[in-house]
Symmetry: C2
Subunit: 231 residues, 2 copies
């Protein structure tokens, strides 16, 4: 594709949650006249939290001006929130990108880069309370749209989010075609996909399971919030 | 993990649909005491239909006896249906695997290996009519369970399928925890995820879009069906 109509870039990083990246990627890859970039500092392979190793396609230096910049979440998010090279790249792309987007805890990285302050945004349910520490208003919807910030909730919300982006750029008919291609007619075997549906026992179990990541993210968020306040 | 309780193997191949692989992988990776193998002939990188390049973790030769063998779909499926090395590997694993499974058009690869004859199975909606040519009964459910064959429908069905596998191996409570971790509370922005919901105009558009792949798969399926009948 010599001259794609749309350039979409997904940030990669060690410790990303692979489905945060691969869910929207699958949708974007089905959009007509669209080139999807998997972005990292180098073209060396990047390993997700789940030990899935994926190759970047485009380095930060080689990245064209993007129509959509998308940041996935995952435990590596904590480190990325303090990574000057990553934050600078996001800030640079923000100046030209039409849409600044994220999935899951990727919104905390965008917030650390100063790109969500004064906006409403989504986040994985277990991390939502951390967004306001950075001046971001929390939206509990699965996909939150606030001007040109479009953000998805936890992990699997990336598919719903991807279809919203497809509809925004290419129109509803194309988004519906992609939904049908993906046979996206979900039928979860259980009704436990949100804290409200799952109930308190399950919520506490998941919070305990994820405690280390949740606490590390909170500490990083607090440190960044203090720095911002001190300026 | 020196001695995992469960070994799950996902076949990789050039031209796989990445979400057929990455959807269930995300679920499996959250199962306790489970090692997930990304299987291919070599450990060389494998590129999906969508130009996502992923590294295998385990070669066919190094693959342990699996609890779950899972075959994803994608346009490369046509070639895999005639790949002697792949078919032999699947047949060998079948002898010891507790569950023989697939997502999307992966069921056509299992059928080409002779592993679904006499069973009911799922497939991507646009390819379902090809299963009976190989002696497989079609199931229109999103996840079809027939004895130890568990098969998912098109692409995104891999997440529902993954949760069914998690519940089967680890119990419902664990599967629900994973669903909550994944925030799998889907909210598709449109109601076009099945041929019934999407309506005939959209169905014909998608069939036209996928015509080359659908026809190539049909030709391969017919050739294999003739060979099987001739024996």
């Amino acid at each position: 594709m010599a001259n794609p109509e749309y350039n979409i870039g997904l940030l990669m990083y060690p410790g990303m949650t692979q489905l945060d990246l691969t869910g929207p990627h699958q949708v974007f890859a089905m959009m007509p006249n669209t080139r999807v970039h998997l972005l990292w500092k180098t073209i060396d392979a990047v390993t997700s939290s789940e030990q899935m190793t994926i190759l970047p396609t485009t380095t930060f230096d080689d990245c064209p001006a993007l129509d959509v910049l998308c940041v996935p979440g995952g435990s590596g998010q904590v480190e990325m929130m303090g990574d000057a090279e990553v934050l600078k790249f996001l800030q640079q792309q923000e100046q030209t990108a039409k849409y600044i987007t994220s999935v899951c805890t990727g919104s905390l990285i965008l917030a650390a880069a100063g790109l969500l302050q004064g906006y409403r945004a989504a986040c994985h349910w277990a991390f939502r309370d951390q967004l306001p520490m950075l001046g971001v208003e929390v939206g509990n919807e699965r996909v939150v749209i606030d001007r040109n910030r479009i953000t998805g909730g936890g992990i699997t919300a990336g598919i719903d989010f991807g279809l919203v982006i497809a509809a925004t750029l290419c129109g509803e008919e194309t988004a519906k075609m992609i939904q049908l291609l993906l046979e996206y007619n979900p039928a979860p075997p259980f009704n436990a996909g949100s804290p409200e549906n799952a109930g308190d026992v399950l919520v506490q179990q998941v919070k305990k399971f994820g405690e280390e990541f949740i606490q590390a993210s909170r500490a990083q968020t607090q440190a960044i919030a203090l720095r911002v306040t001190a300026i």
